[in-house]
């Protein structure tokens, strides 16, 4: 009797064991499949850029989840605020990679991204992950992957950098010579880390911006450096006016472009074309901020909704509905998770090494241009790859695309760049 009972128990155990062996892996797989893919974002959330990047990532991730996630796994966004303080960025990166186990971390800002890249390189072997950075303009960042591939291969940049101004694919000098019609240029550069190459050049690699422009036949008749805290631009504008320049190219990023434009409009330099690089001038609201004094001002990365693909408009509508602006890094923030999804689905895996190879080899397009990365993990340049977009404020604050030609055709085919003097005449000023 005892023996029979023992046999029965053994049989039951075997049945449980076999059943378990059949069901358990599936069960484990099911449980694992429900685990979300975590995406981290470190942004200065109180700034327009941080808010726009966050909203873009949220929209992107919402859409990916509605479309079934990435290979059936939902995507979760974890956001951290670095308040533009490097120690906070480093602490946030550490948390996102080590504690939250994020597969990819989006970072912004040159200083923040550089610090995170250094930390990421140390963590990578233990915590394999990817890093996408935007708003990291310093040209030294782009050499990291090129010079020490194995150390920094996890890092991709989804925004253009300082050295792009030297890239013929962007047609920057042609813009001055052909579109604007510049004969004599006043070149002003804000004196801060990210403009170092422009001011000092890099021996054997890049000339100074002045040398580069002059080599291409643009005569620079005035050159100056400006403090990013500057509020009184009138003396500089007075000097620029006396230089005989017909165009002012002011490399701005952190400079107070609102004050600059208000004072330019009431200075002897007001009939000179004013080309600014970035800053508040890129916002559509800049027109209102300057009380309409931005007539004729041109800037890079203007806040203009451009219909790149059929996905652009729904995204931009949603972005607007969420109260966020369209800024330079917005497309990168929105397209970033889609690049990850495409790469993961291509390799059928979340193995970071495989993902890196897939991103390196692939070409991706969602709401904007084609994303393809070179050996330094820099985006390929020149439309249909990453474009250099320039916009000009015309009458009634209309912000129109004036570069590149292909985007003019799809955005404002009838409008073109008009010299400031002519715009003022047209506006009856």
């Amino acid at each position: 009797m005892k023996r029979k009972a023992l046999q029965l128990v053994l049989c039951l155990c075997m049945i449980f064991l076999i059943t378990g062996m059949i069901i358990l892996p599936g069960f484990i797989r099911e449980s694992f499949a429900a685990e979300p893919i975590k995406i981290g974002f470190i942004g200065a959330l109180s700034t327009p850029y941080g808010a726009s990047n966050k909203a873009s990532l949220e929209i992107s991730i919402d859409e990916i989840n509605k479309a079934g996630g990435i290979m059936g796994r939902p995507v979760e966004l974890i956001t951290e605020d670095w308040k533009r303080e490097i120690p906070l960025a480093v602490a946030a990166y550490k948390k996102l990679v080590m504690k939250d186990k994020c597969l990819i971390v989006f970072t912004e800002g040159t200083e923040g991204s550089t610090a995170c890249a250094q930390l990421g390189a140390r963590l990578y072997s233990t915590y394999p992950h990817l890093m996408f950075s935007f708003w990291s303009a310093h040209e030294s960042l782009m050499d990291l992957v090129g010079n020490e591939y194995n150390k920094y291969k996890f890092m991709f940049r989804v925004y253009s950098n300082t050295a792009d101004s030297y890239n013929p694919a962007f047609g920057f000098n042609d813009f001055f010579k052909q579109t604007v019609g510049t004969k004599k240029l006043a070149l002003l550069i804000e004196d801060i880390g990210w403009t170092e190459v422009y001011r000092n050049g890099r021996p054997g690699v890049y000339p100074t911006l002045k040398e580069y422009l002059e080599k291409d036949g643009i005569q620079v008749v005035y050159e100056g450096k400006t403090d990013i805290k500057e509020k009184m631009f009138l003396p500089i504008l007075e000097k620029v006016a006396a230089s005989g320049a017909d165009t002012i190219y002011w490399v701005t990023g952190y400079t107070d472009t609102v004050t600059l434009v208000k004072q330019w409009d009431q200075s002897p330099a007001k009939d000179m074309d004013l080309i600014l690089m970035s800053g508040a001038v890129s916002y559509a609201a800049f027109w209102k901020m300057t009380g309409g004094r931005a007539l004729g001002v041109t800037a890079m990365w203007p806040e203009i909704p451009i219909p790149f693909t059929n996905k652009s408009k729904p995204f931009l509508d949603e972005l607007k509905a969420r109260g966020s602006g369209l800024l330079a890094s917005t497309y990168g923030a929105y397209d970033g998770p889609w690049i990850l999804k495409a790469a993961a689905e291509e390799v059928g895996d979340f193995d970071v090494e495989k993902l890196i190879k897939a991103i390196e080899k692939g070409e991706f397009r969602h709401s904007s241009w084609i994303w393809a990365f070179d050996k330094r993990h820099e985006p390929k340049k020149g439309y249909p790859y990453l474009p250099n977009i320039m916009g000009q404020f015309q009458e009634d604050g209309r912000y129109i695309v004036v570069l590149p030609q292909k985007l003019i055709e799809v955005t404002n085919p009838k409008a073109k760049y008009v010299r400031v003097k002519d715009l003022r005449k047209r506006a009856g000023q």
């Binding site: 100056g224 009184m232 003396p235 004050t259 009431q266 508040a280 901020m289 300057t290 009380g291």
Partner: protein, 291 residues
């Protein structure tokens, strides 16, 4: 050369007037209450964003909005700065400075929340547009308004302090508050009055420079820095010193900008203030009294 000298002189007056309007109120509080008002930066924000709120949000036209912004400024100064903070902590310096700074940051964050830079804030207070030529130097005509406003406001304040009974009391407090108290001056009445008087120049300043200046939520900090710099150079709480210091700073800025490198203006001002403090720590005028 003549053009450079002309430009230096014109801009020394223009910039000096601007610095004077920015610093006058700060200096007054220093002189009367004997405190470093680290909440002074918020005054600029209340002025400019108050105007915007009344015009854009409540739909008021320019003049009613200006009246309302002065009322708002007075209410803010008394209701948020003076009674809850200054009056309570006037003898406890660390608490006073911390509270004032915190209040300033709260105002900054609030403004940034409701009217971030992308809100496109602009105040249509331009009396003149375009430029005017003085000799061979061009300046925005609106800057002439800044100069006139600075001279008028300063003259009125000086007359008020020298010729009125309340002015005498204010000066008495600035010289020795305990002695003034013994002679029957009621500090609890003069202090709030001085606080109110101190917010008028920055409010006027904001209204007249808005057409040539950016309006953004963080602007208070840099204006506070200017006010501190000028007031220290002039001698803490001495209006005469503040007037002279404003034009000295204006002169340094324009000399460096026109005869040297505009990039070095900020550094040159800091260096001059630093050396003045080393060799004349009390500033240009010894701050025994407000005037």
């Amino acid at each position: 050369m003549v053009h450079i000298i002309e430009s230096i002189l014109v801009y020394a007056i223009v910039l000096g007037s601007l610095y004077l309007l920015v610093s006058l109120g700060f200096s007054l509080i220093c002189g009367v209450l004997g405190i470093f008002n680290l909440g002074y930066g918020a005054t600029f924000l209340v002025a400019i964003y108050g105007m915007w709120m009344f015009m854009a949000t409540f739909g008021l036209s320019l003049w009613p909005a200006i009246v309302c912004v002065f009322v708002l400024q007075f209410l803010f100064t008394l209701g948020v700065i003076y009674f809850p903070i200054v009056k309570r902590y006037i003898e406890k310096e660390e608490l006073l400075l911390t509270s004032l700074l915190l209040m300033s940051l709260i105002v900054e964050e609030t403004v940034n929340h409701f009217y971030p830079i992308t809100a496109g804030v602009d105040i249509p207070t331009a009396i003149f547009t375009g430029t005017m030529q003085i000799g061979s130097t061009n300046i925005p005509t609106q800057m002439l308004v800044v100069v006139i406003a600075a001279f008028l406001v300063t003259a009125l304040y000086v007359l008020f302090l020298l010729k009125t009974k309340i002015g005498f009391k204010i000066r008495a407090i600035s010289q020795n508050s305990e002695a003034a108290k013994l002679l029957g001056v009621r500090l609890e009445r003069i202090y709030p009055l001085a606080m109110i008087l101190a917010v008028i120049p920055p409010t006027i300043c904001m209204l007249v420079i808005a057409p040539v200046w950016a309006i953004e939520p963080m602007m208070g900090a840099s204006l506070l820095q200017t006010a501190i710099l000028v007031t220290i150079l002039g001698g803490l709480g001495n209006l005469r010193g503040t007037i002279i210091a404003s034009f000295i700073v204006g002169l340094i800025a324009s000399v460096v900008a026109f005869a040297g490198n505009p990039r070095l203006v900020g550094m040159a001002i800091l260096i001059v203030v630093f050396f003045v403090l080393i060799y004349k720590p009390q500033g240009i005028a010894k701050s025994e009294t407000l005037w």
